[in-house]
Protein backbone atom coordinates (compact mmCIF):
# COMPACT_ATOMS: atom_id res chain seq x y z
CA UNK A 1 0.00 0.00 0.00
CA UNK A 2 1.24 3.48 -0.89
CA UNK A 3 0.25 6.22 1.51
CA UNK A 4 0.83 9.94 1.05
CA UNK A 5 0.31 12.14 4.05
CA UNK A 6 0.23 15.93 3.91
CA UNK A 7 2.77 16.07 1.06
CA UNK A 8 3.99 19.54 0.07
CA UNK A 9 6.22 20.42 -2.86
CA UNK A 10 6.98 23.84 -4.29
CA UNK A 11 9.21 25.35 -6.94
CA UNK A 12 10.25 28.85 -5.91
CA UNK A 13 7.11 30.80 -5.04
CA UNK A 14 4.82 28.26 -6.76
CA UNK A 15 3.36 25.64 -4.41
CA UNK A 16 2.52 22.68 -6.65
CA UNK A 17 1.50 20.18 -3.97
CA UNK A 18 -0.10 21.78 -0.93
CA UNK A 19 -0.94 18.94 1.44
CA UNK A 20 -1.76 15.88 -0.62
CA UNK A 21 -3.31 12.96 1.28
CA UNK A 22 -3.87 9.81 -0.73
CA UNK A 23 -3.92 6.05 -0.19
CA UNK A 24 -3.37 3.51 -2.96
CA UNK A 25 -4.33 0.07 -1.65
CA UNK A 26 -2.33 -2.98 -2.73
CA UNK A 27 -3.58 -4.54 -5.97
CA UNK A 28 -5.77 -1.60 -6.95
CA UNK A 29 -5.55 0.66 -9.94
CA UNK A 30 -5.64 4.32 -8.95
CA UNK A 31 -5.94 6.96 -11.64
CA UNK A 32 -4.96 10.51 -10.76
CA UNK A 33 -6.60 13.17 -12.90
CA UNK A 34 -6.35 16.94 -12.99
CA UNK A 35 -5.62 19.81 -15.31
CA UNK A 36 -2.24 20.52 -16.85
CA UNK A 37 0.27 21.90 -14.35
CA UNK A 38 -1.63 20.72 -11.27
CA UNK A 39 1.26 18.59 -10.02
CA UNK A 40 0.23 15.08 -11.09
CA UNK A 41 3.65 14.20 -12.49
CA UNK A 42 5.38 15.86 -9.52
CA UNK A 43 3.33 13.64 -7.21
CA UNK A 44 4.45 10.55 -9.08
CA UNK A 45 8.09 11.65 -9.09
CA UNK A 46 7.96 12.29 -5.34
CA UNK A 47 6.72 8.75 -4.72
CA UNK A 48 9.55 7.32 -6.84
CA UNK A 49 12.15 9.56 -5.21
CA UNK A 50 12.98 11.36 -8.47
CA UNK A 51 12.05 14.50 -6.51
CA UNK A 52 12.00 14.98 -2.77
CA UNK A 53 8.91 16.47 -1.16
CA UNK A 54 9.41 19.61 0.93
CA UNK A 55 7.35 18.17 3.79
CA UNK A 56 4.95 15.34 4.54
CA UNK A 57 5.55 11.61 4.34
CA UNK A 58 5.20 8.97 1.66
CA UNK A 59 5.23 5.36 2.79
CA UNK A 60 5.28 2.07 0.92
CA UNK A 61 3.90 -0.77 3.05
CA UNK A 62 4.51 1.40 6.10
CA UNK A 63 8.15 2.21 5.29
CA UNK A 64 9.14 5.82 4.63
CA UNK A 65 10.24 5.98 0.99
CA UNK A 66 13.01 8.45 1.82
CA UNK A 67 14.57 5.97 4.25
CA UNK A 68 14.14 2.86 2.11
CA UNK A 69 17.15 1.14 0.52
CA UNK A 70 17.03 2.61 -3.00
CA UNK A 71 17.78 -0.44 -5.14
CA UNK A 72 15.38 -2.72 -3.29
CA UNK A 73 12.74 0.02 -3.31
CA UNK A 74 13.03 0.75 -7.03
CA UNK A 75 13.13 -2.95 -7.92
CA UNK A 76 9.47 -3.09 -6.85
CA UNK A 77 8.46 -0.49 -9.45
CA UNK A 78 7.91 -0.39 -13.19
CA UNK A 79 7.22 2.88 -14.96
CA UNK A 80 5.84 3.89 -18.32
CA UNK A 81 6.97 7.42 -19.13
CA UNK A 82 4.89 9.93 -21.06
CA UNK A 83 7.23 10.04 -24.06
CA UNK A 84 8.37 6.45 -23.66
CA UNK A 85 11.86 7.54 -22.49
CA UNK A 86 13.42 4.70 -24.45
CA UNK A 87 17.21 4.73 -24.67
CA UNK A 88 18.06 5.82 -28.22
CA UNK A 89 21.42 4.08 -28.25
CA UNK A 90 20.04 0.63 -27.43
CA UNK A 91 17.95 -1.70 -29.60
CA UNK A 92 14.38 -2.36 -28.52
CA UNK A 93 15.06 -5.68 -26.82
CA UNK A 94 17.87 -4.20 -24.71
CA UNK A 95 15.53 -1.38 -23.69
CA UNK A 96 12.91 -3.91 -22.59
CA UNK A 97 15.45 -6.13 -20.83
CA UNK A 98 17.48 -3.22 -19.39
CA UNK A 99 16.88 -4.26 -15.81
CA UNK A 100 17.52 -7.92 -16.61
CA UNK A 101 20.95 -7.18 -18.06
CA UNK A 102 22.34 -5.29 -15.07
CA UNK A 103 22.33 -5.15 -11.29
CA UNK A 104 20.69 -7.53 -8.85
CA UNK A 105 18.21 -8.92 -11.42
CA UNK A 106 20.88 -9.61 -14.07
CA UNK A 107 20.47 -12.76 -16.16
CA UNK A 108 22.42 -14.25 -19.07
CA UNK A 109 21.90 -12.29 -22.30
CA UNK A 110 20.07 -15.05 -24.22
CA UNK A 111 17.61 -15.49 -21.34
CA UNK A 112 17.08 -11.72 -21.01
CA UNK A 113 16.45 -11.46 -24.75
CA UNK A 114 13.94 -14.31 -24.59
CA UNK A 115 12.05 -12.53 -21.80
CA UNK A 116 12.16 -9.25 -23.74
CA UNK A 117 10.71 -10.89 -26.86
CA UNK A 118 8.01 -12.52 -24.75
CA UNK A 119 7.09 -9.16 -23.17
CA UNK A 120 7.05 -7.52 -26.60
CA UNK A 121 4.67 -10.22 -27.76
CA UNK A 122 2.53 -9.56 -24.69
CA UNK A 123 2.09 -5.93 -25.74
CA UNK A 124 1.27 -6.90 -29.32
CA UNK A 125 4.66 -6.46 -31.02
CA UNK A 126 6.29 -9.09 -33.19
CA UNK A 127 9.80 -10.45 -32.45
CA UNK A 128 11.29 -8.65 -35.49
CA UNK A 129 10.78 -5.35 -33.62
CA UNK A 130 13.31 -6.52 -31.02
CA UNK A 131 16.35 -5.56 -33.08
CA UNK A 132 15.08 -2.18 -34.26
CA UNK A 133 16.12 1.07 -32.57
CA UNK A 134 13.51 3.29 -30.84
CA UNK A 135 13.84 5.99 -33.52
CA UNK A 136 12.58 3.48 -36.10
CA UNK A 137 9.26 2.98 -34.26
CA UNK A 138 5.97 4.89 -34.41
CA UNK A 139 4.66 6.70 -31.32
CA UNK A 140 2.22 3.87 -30.55
CA UNK A 141 4.94 1.24 -30.89
CA UNK A 142 7.24 3.24 -28.61
CA UNK A 143 4.50 3.31 -25.96
CA UNK A 144 4.13 -0.44 -26.24
CA UNK A 145 7.88 -0.93 -25.90
CA UNK A 146 7.81 1.37 -22.86
CA UNK A 147 4.99 -0.74 -21.45
CA UNK A 148 6.96 -3.93 -22.13
CA UNK A 149 9.96 -2.42 -20.32
CA UNK A 150 7.76 -1.43 -17.37
CA UNK A 151 6.54 -5.01 -16.91
CA UNK A 152 9.74 -6.85 -17.91
CA UNK A 153 10.91 -7.51 -14.36
CA UNK A 154 7.34 -8.26 -13.18
CA UNK A 155 7.15 -5.42 -10.64
CA UNK A 156 4.61 -5.24 -7.83
CA UNK A 157 3.77 -1.62 -8.59
CA UNK A 158 3.46 0.00 -12.01
CA UNK A 159 3.21 3.73 -12.74
CA UNK A 160 1.84 5.06 -15.99
CA UNK A 161 2.47 8.72 -16.81
CA UNK A 162 0.04 9.99 -19.46
CA UNK A 163 -0.03 6.64 -21.28
CA UNK A 164 -2.19 7.83 -24.19
CA UNK A 165 -0.82 11.32 -24.80
CA UNK A 166 -0.04 11.90 -28.47
CA UNK A 167 -1.81 8.74 -29.68
CA UNK A 168 -4.83 8.49 -31.97
CA UNK A 169 -8.12 7.31 -30.35
CA UNK A 170 -7.80 3.76 -31.62
CA UNK A 171 -4.21 3.36 -30.41
CA UNK A 172 -5.23 5.00 -27.11
CA UNK A 173 -7.94 2.38 -26.73
CA UNK A 174 -5.45 -0.41 -27.45
CA UNK A 175 -2.98 0.94 -24.86
CA UNK A 176 -5.75 1.43 -22.27
CA UNK A 177 -6.97 -2.15 -22.75
CA UNK A 178 -3.41 -3.46 -22.55
CA UNK A 179 -2.75 -1.60 -19.31
CA UNK A 180 -5.94 -2.89 -17.76
CA UNK A 181 -5.28 -6.47 -18.86
CA UNK A 182 -1.69 -6.42 -17.64
CA UNK A 183 -2.52 -4.87 -14.27
CA UNK A 184 -5.27 -7.45 -13.65
CA UNK A 185 -3.14 -10.34 -14.93
CA UNK A 186 -0.14 -9.41 -12.79
CA UNK A 187 -2.19 -8.40 -9.76
CA UNK A 188 -0.08 -5.28 -9.60
CA UNK A 189 -0.76 -2.04 -7.78
CA UNK A 190 -1.06 0.65 -10.44
CA UNK A 191 -1.06 4.40 -10.45
CA UNK A 192 -1.87 6.21 -13.67
CA UNK A 193 -1.66 9.90 -14.36
CA UNK A 194 -3.84 11.17 -17.13
CA UNK A 195 -6.34 13.75 -18.25
CA UNK A 196 -7.83 11.41 -20.81
CA UNK A 197 -11.26 10.41 -19.45
CA UNK A 198 -11.50 7.38 -21.72
CA UNK A 199 -8.32 6.05 -20.05
CA UNK A 200 -9.83 6.68 -16.64
CA UNK A 201 -12.93 4.63 -17.39
CA UNK A 202 -10.95 1.66 -18.70
CA UNK A 203 -7.98 1.63 -16.30
CA UNK A 204 -9.27 2.85 -12.94
CA UNK A 205 -10.59 1.05 -9.89
CA UNK A 206 -10.39 4.33 -8.02
CA UNK A 207 -9.96 7.93 -9.11
CA UNK A 208 -8.34 10.89 -7.38
CA UNK A 209 -8.66 14.39 -8.74
CA UNK A 210 -5.96 16.93 -7.92
CA UNK A 211 -6.75 20.61 -7.91
CA UNK A 212 -5.06 23.50 -6.15
CA UNK A 213 -2.27 21.23 -4.90
CA UNK A 214 -4.67 18.96 -2.98
CA UNK A 215 -6.82 15.92 -3.63
CA UNK A 216 -10.13 17.51 -4.52
CA UNK A 217 -12.09 14.27 -4.79
CA UNK A 218 -11.34 10.58 -4.50
CA UNK A 219 -13.54 7.53 -4.82
CA UNK A 220 -14.42 4.49 -6.92
CA UNK A 221 -14.61 5.09 -10.66
CA UNK A 222 -18.27 4.04 -10.62
CA UNK A 223 -19.11 6.97 -8.34
CA UNK A 224 -17.29 9.52 -10.44
CA UNK A 225 -20.15 10.69 -12.66
CA UNK A 226 -22.55 11.14 -9.77
CA UNK A 227 -20.02 12.65 -7.36
CA UNK A 228 -21.70 16.04 -7.17
CA UNK A 229 -18.29 17.65 -6.86
CA UNK A 230 -18.36 20.75 -9.08
CA UNK A 231 -14.63 20.52 -9.90
CA UNK A 232 -14.82 16.87 -10.94
CA UNK A 233 -18.05 17.41 -12.83
CA UNK A 234 -16.50 20.29 -14.80
CA UNK A 235 -13.37 18.23 -15.50
CA UNK A 236 -15.37 15.24 -16.75
CA UNK A 237 -17.59 17.38 -18.96
CA UNK A 238 -14.66 19.44 -20.25
CA UNK A 239 -16.66 22.62 -19.80
CA UNK A 240 -15.01 26.04 -19.70
CA UNK A 241 -17.71 27.12 -17.21
CA UNK A 242 -17.21 26.16 -13.58
CA UNK A 243 -14.97 26.58 -10.56
CA UNK A 244 -11.78 25.56 -12.48
CA UNK A 245 -10.43 28.59 -14.28
CA UNK A 246 -10.04 28.00 -18.00
CA UNK A 247 -7.14 30.44 -18.22
CA UNK A 248 -4.28 29.33 -15.93
Amino acid sequence: MIELSNVHKGFGPKQVLAGVNLTIPRGESMVVIGGSGTGKSVLLKCILGLMTQDSGTITLDGEDTLKAERDAFLARFGMLFQGGALFDSLPVWQNVAFRLLRGSLARPWPEAREIAVEKLRRVGLTPDVADLFPAELSGGMQKRVGLARAIAAEPEIIFFDEPTTGLDPIMSGVINDLIREIVVEMGATAMTITHDMSSVRVIADKVAMIHGGKVQWTGPVADMDASGDPYLTQFISGSAEGPIEAVR
Partner: protein, 261 residues
Protein backbone atom coordinates in the same frame (compact mmCIF):
# COMPACT_ATOMS: atom_id res chain seq x y z
CA UNK B 1 18.93 49.81 -1.77
CA UNK B 2 20.11 53.00 -3.44
CA UNK B 3 20.54 52.98 -7.22
CA UNK B 4 24.22 53.81 -6.80
CA UNK B 5 24.80 50.40 -5.19
CA UNK B 6 23.10 48.44 -8.02
CA UNK B 7 26.33 47.76 -9.96
CA UNK B 8 28.03 46.54 -6.79
CA UNK B 9 25.08 44.28 -5.99
CA UNK B 10 25.14 42.90 -9.53
CA UNK B 11 28.88 42.27 -9.27
CA UNK B 12 28.37 40.52 -5.93
CA UNK B 13 25.59 38.35 -7.33
CA UNK B 14 27.71 37.40 -10.35
CA UNK B 15 30.70 36.57 -8.14
CA UNK B 16 28.61 34.46 -5.78
CA UNK B 17 26.97 32.71 -8.74
CA UNK B 18 30.35 31.98 -10.28
CA UNK B 19 31.78 30.63 -7.02
CA UNK B 20 28.70 28.47 -6.49
CA UNK B 21 29.11 27.04 -9.99
CA UNK B 22 32.80 26.34 -9.37
CA UNK B 23 31.79 24.48 -6.22
CA UNK B 24 29.14 22.45 -8.03
CA UNK B 25 31.55 21.52 -10.83
CA UNK B 26 34.24 20.53 -8.29
CA UNK B 27 31.78 18.31 -6.41
CA UNK B 28 30.60 16.78 -9.70
CA UNK B 29 34.20 16.09 -10.76
CA UNK B 30 34.95 14.46 -7.39
CA UNK B 31 31.80 12.34 -7.62
CA UNK B 32 32.75 11.28 -11.15
CA UNK B 33 36.13 10.04 -9.93
CA UNK B 34 34.58 8.26 -6.96
CA UNK B 35 32.05 6.47 -9.20
CA UNK B 36 34.89 5.27 -11.44
CA UNK B 37 36.41 3.26 -8.60
CA UNK B 38 33.20 2.00 -6.98
CA UNK B 39 31.05 -0.81 -8.44
CA UNK B 40 28.87 -1.51 -10.33
CA UNK B 41 30.90 -1.10 -13.51
CA UNK B 42 29.54 -0.86 -17.03
CA UNK B 43 32.27 -2.25 -19.32
CA UNK B 44 30.11 -2.07 -22.44
CA UNK B 45 29.51 1.65 -21.90
CA UNK B 46 33.24 2.11 -21.22
CA UNK B 47 34.20 0.38 -24.48
CA UNK B 48 31.68 2.48 -26.41
CA UNK B 49 33.16 5.62 -24.86
CA UNK B 50 36.69 4.49 -25.72
CA UNK B 51 35.62 4.02 -29.32
CA UNK B 52 33.76 7.33 -29.55
CA UNK B 53 36.34 9.47 -27.80
CA UNK B 54 39.47 7.74 -29.08
CA UNK B 55 39.09 5.93 -32.36
CA UNK B 56 36.58 8.29 -33.98
CA UNK B 57 38.65 11.34 -32.99
CA UNK B 58 41.72 10.08 -34.86
CA UNK B 59 40.95 11.77 -38.22
CA UNK B 60 40.38 15.23 -36.73
CA UNK B 61 43.39 14.91 -34.43
CA UNK B 62 45.62 13.71 -37.27
CA UNK B 63 44.59 16.46 -39.69
CA UNK B 64 44.91 19.17 -37.06
CA UNK B 65 48.37 17.96 -36.03
CA UNK B 66 49.83 17.52 -39.52
CA UNK B 67 48.85 20.99 -40.71
CA UNK B 68 49.97 22.57 -37.44
CA UNK B 69 53.37 20.85 -37.58
CA UNK B 70 53.81 21.86 -41.22
CA UNK B 71 52.89 25.50 -40.57
CA UNK B 72 55.13 25.55 -37.49
CA UNK B 73 58.13 24.38 -39.56
CA UNK B 74 57.53 27.19 -42.08
CA UNK B 75 57.15 29.80 -39.33
CA UNK B 76 60.29 28.72 -37.49
CA UNK B 77 62.29 28.62 -40.70
CA UNK B 78 61.22 32.10 -41.82
CA UNK B 79 61.55 33.55 -38.28
CA UNK B 80 64.90 31.81 -37.74
CA UNK B 81 66.32 33.30 -40.94
CA UNK B 82 66.25 36.74 -39.26
CA UNK B 83 69.09 35.69 -36.98
CA UNK B 84 70.55 32.82 -39.03
CA UNK B 85 68.94 30.10 -36.93
CA UNK B 86 67.11 28.14 -39.68
CA UNK B 87 68.85 24.95 -38.64
CA UNK B 88 66.83 24.64 -35.42
CA UNK B 89 63.58 23.83 -37.23
CA UNK B 90 63.53 20.09 -36.26
CA UNK B 91 64.24 20.83 -32.61
CA UNK B 92 61.71 23.67 -32.24
CA UNK B 93 58.99 21.80 -34.13
CA UNK B 94 59.55 18.83 -31.84
CA UNK B 95 59.53 20.82 -28.64
CA UNK B 96 56.64 23.03 -29.78
CA UNK B 97 54.47 20.08 -30.77
CA UNK B 98 55.25 17.83 -27.82
CA UNK B 99 55.24 20.40 -25.04
CA UNK B 100 52.46 22.75 -26.19
CA UNK B 101 50.70 22.48 -29.50
CA UNK B 102 50.08 18.73 -29.50
CA UNK B 103 48.32 18.55 -26.13
CA UNK B 104 46.54 21.90 -26.44
CA UNK B 105 45.24 21.37 -29.97
CA UNK B 106 44.17 17.80 -29.26
CA UNK B 107 42.51 19.03 -26.05
CA UNK B 108 40.62 21.74 -27.93
CA UNK B 109 39.63 19.33 -30.70
CA UNK B 110 38.34 16.90 -28.06
CA UNK B 111 36.43 19.77 -26.42
CA UNK B 112 34.85 20.60 -29.77
CA UNK B 113 34.06 17.05 -30.83
CA UNK B 114 33.61 15.03 -27.66
CA UNK B 115 32.49 17.54 -25.02
CA UNK B 116 29.77 18.87 -27.31
CA UNK B 117 28.56 15.40 -28.23
CA UNK B 118 28.51 14.19 -24.60
CA UNK B 119 26.68 17.33 -23.45
CA UNK B 120 24.11 17.17 -26.25
CA UNK B 121 23.49 13.45 -25.76
CA UNK B 122 23.06 13.62 -21.99
CA UNK B 123 21.02 16.84 -22.16
CA UNK B 124 18.68 15.23 -24.69
CA UNK B 125 18.40 12.20 -22.42
CA UNK B 126 17.48 14.55 -19.60
CA UNK B 127 14.77 16.46 -21.46
CA UNK B 128 13.25 13.23 -22.80
CA UNK B 129 13.16 11.72 -19.27
CA UNK B 130 15.70 9.02 -20.13
CA UNK B 131 17.74 9.99 -17.06
CA UNK B 132 14.64 9.55 -14.87
CA UNK B 133 14.04 6.24 -16.63
CA UNK B 134 17.57 5.12 -15.71
CA UNK B 135 16.88 5.90 -12.06
CA UNK B 136 13.61 3.97 -12.04
CA UNK B 137 15.50 1.05 -13.57
CA UNK B 138 17.81 1.05 -10.52
CA UNK B 139 20.74 2.46 -12.50
CA UNK B 140 22.72 5.41 -11.17
CA UNK B 141 23.11 7.96 -14.02
CA UNK B 142 26.55 9.01 -12.76
CA UNK B 143 27.78 5.43 -12.87
CA UNK B 144 26.15 4.56 -16.19
CA UNK B 145 26.73 7.79 -18.12
CA UNK B 146 29.49 9.81 -16.45
CA UNK B 147 32.01 7.34 -15.02
CA UNK B 148 32.61 5.35 -18.25
CA UNK B 149 33.04 8.52 -20.33
CA UNK B 150 35.38 10.22 -17.85
CA UNK B 151 37.53 7.11 -17.42
CA UNK B 152 37.70 6.56 -21.18
CA UNK B 153 38.73 10.19 -21.75
CA UNK B 154 41.44 10.03 -19.06
CA UNK B 155 42.91 6.92 -20.69
CA UNK B 156 42.51 7.62 -24.38
CA UNK B 157 43.23 11.34 -24.74
CA UNK B 158 46.92 10.90 -23.75
CA UNK B 159 47.15 8.31 -26.54
CA UNK B 160 45.58 10.80 -28.95
CA UNK B 161 48.06 13.45 -27.78
CA UNK B 162 50.95 11.04 -28.40
CA UNK B 163 49.64 10.29 -31.88
CA UNK B 164 49.07 14.02 -32.50
CA UNK B 165 52.64 14.78 -31.40
CA UNK B 166 54.07 12.22 -33.81
CA UNK B 167 51.88 13.33 -36.73
CA UNK B 168 52.68 17.00 -36.01
CA UNK B 169 56.40 16.26 -36.06
CA UNK B 170 55.87 14.36 -39.31
CA UNK B 171 54.11 17.44 -40.74
CA UNK B 172 57.20 19.49 -39.91
CA UNK B 173 59.40 16.73 -41.34
CA UNK B 174 57.54 16.69 -44.66
CA UNK B 175 57.80 20.47 -45.05
CA UNK B 176 61.39 20.49 -43.77
CA UNK B 177 62.63 17.80 -46.15
CA UNK B 178 60.48 18.54 -49.22
CA UNK B 179 60.38 22.31 -49.14
CA UNK B 180 63.11 23.67 -46.87
CA UNK B 181 65.98 21.41 -47.93
CA UNK B 182 66.68 19.50 -44.70
CA UNK B 183 68.25 16.05 -44.99
CA UNK B 184 65.68 13.42 -43.88
CA UNK B 185 68.03 11.45 -41.63
CA UNK B 186 69.48 14.53 -39.94
CA UNK B 187 66.00 15.98 -39.38
CA UNK B 188 64.83 12.87 -37.53
CA UNK B 189 68.07 12.51 -35.58
CA UNK B 190 67.94 16.13 -34.44
CA UNK B 191 64.29 15.71 -33.42
CA UNK B 192 64.91 12.51 -31.48
CA UNK B 193 68.09 13.71 -29.77
CA UNK B 194 66.57 17.00 -28.67
CA UNK B 195 63.45 15.62 -26.95
CA UNK B 196 63.71 14.71 -23.27
CA UNK B 197 61.63 12.32 -21.21
CA UNK B 198 60.08 15.24 -19.31
CA UNK B 199 58.76 16.67 -22.59
CA UNK B 200 56.94 13.45 -23.41
CA UNK B 201 55.70 12.88 -19.84
CA UNK B 202 54.34 16.44 -19.63
CA UNK B 203 52.57 15.95 -22.97
CA UNK B 204 50.85 12.75 -21.84
CA UNK B 205 49.94 14.14 -18.40
CA UNK B 206 48.42 17.18 -20.09
CA UNK B 207 46.44 14.80 -22.32
CA UNK B 208 45.01 12.95 -19.30
CA UNK B 209 44.07 16.21 -17.54
CA UNK B 210 42.52 17.70 -20.69
CA UNK B 211 40.58 14.49 -21.32
CA UNK B 212 39.23 14.61 -17.76
CA UNK B 213 38.20 18.25 -18.17
CA UNK B 214 36.55 17.64 -21.54
CA UNK B 215 34.49 14.66 -20.35
CA UNK B 216 33.51 16.19 -16.99
CA UNK B 217 32.36 19.42 -18.64
CA UNK B 218 30.26 17.52 -21.18
CA UNK B 219 28.66 15.36 -18.51
CA UNK B 220 28.12 18.22 -16.03
CA UNK B 221 26.44 20.56 -18.48
CA UNK B 222 24.41 17.72 -19.99
CA UNK B 223 23.13 16.60 -16.58
CA UNK B 224 22.29 20.18 -15.61
CA UNK B 225 20.73 21.30 -18.88
CA UNK B 226 17.57 23.35 -19.08
CA UNK B 227 14.35 22.24 -20.73
CA UNK B 228 13.65 21.84 -24.41
CA UNK B 229 15.76 22.38 -27.50
CA UNK B 230 17.04 25.68 -26.17
CA UNK B 231 18.24 24.00 -22.98
CA UNK B 232 20.10 21.34 -24.96
CA UNK B 233 21.66 23.98 -27.21
CA UNK B 234 22.75 26.12 -24.27
CA UNK B 235 24.21 23.13 -22.42
CA UNK B 236 26.21 22.13 -25.49
CA UNK B 237 27.55 25.62 -26.12
CA UNK B 238 28.42 26.26 -22.47
CA UNK B 239 30.14 22.89 -22.10
CA UNK B 240 32.47 23.58 -25.04
CA UNK B 241 33.26 27.11 -23.86
CA UNK B 242 33.97 25.94 -20.31
CA UNK B 243 36.06 22.97 -21.45
CA UNK B 244 38.16 25.11 -23.83
CA UNK B 245 38.85 27.78 -21.20
CA UNK B 246 39.65 25.23 -18.49
CA UNK B 247 41.95 23.33 -20.84
CA UNK B 248 43.91 26.49 -21.64
CA UNK B 249 44.08 27.46 -17.97
CA UNK B 250 45.16 23.96 -16.96
CA UNK B 251 47.78 24.04 -19.72
CA UNK B 252 49.32 27.16 -18.20
CA UNK B 253 49.36 25.61 -14.71
CA UNK B 254 50.84 22.33 -15.94
CA UNK B 255 53.48 24.10 -18.01
CA UNK B 256 54.42 26.14 -14.93
CA UNK B 257 54.62 22.97 -12.89
CA UNK B 258 56.74 21.00 -15.36
CA UNK B 259 59.08 23.61 -16.80
CA UNK B 260 59.60 26.55 -14.47
CA UNK B 261 61.30 24.84 -11.55
Amino acid sequence: MKPITYPLAALGRATLGFLAMVGRVAIFAGQSLSHIVRPPYYPREFLNALLNIGYFSLPVVGLTAIFTGAALALQIYSGGQRFSAEAVVPQIVAIGMVRELGPVLVGLMIAARVTSSIAAEIATMKVTEQIDALVTLSTHPMKYLTAPRVLAAILVVPALVGIGDIIGIMGGYIVGTKQLGFAPGAYLTNTWNFLETADIVSSLVKGAVFGFIAAVMGCYHGMNSGRGAQGVGRATKTSVEAAAILILAANFLLTSFFFTS
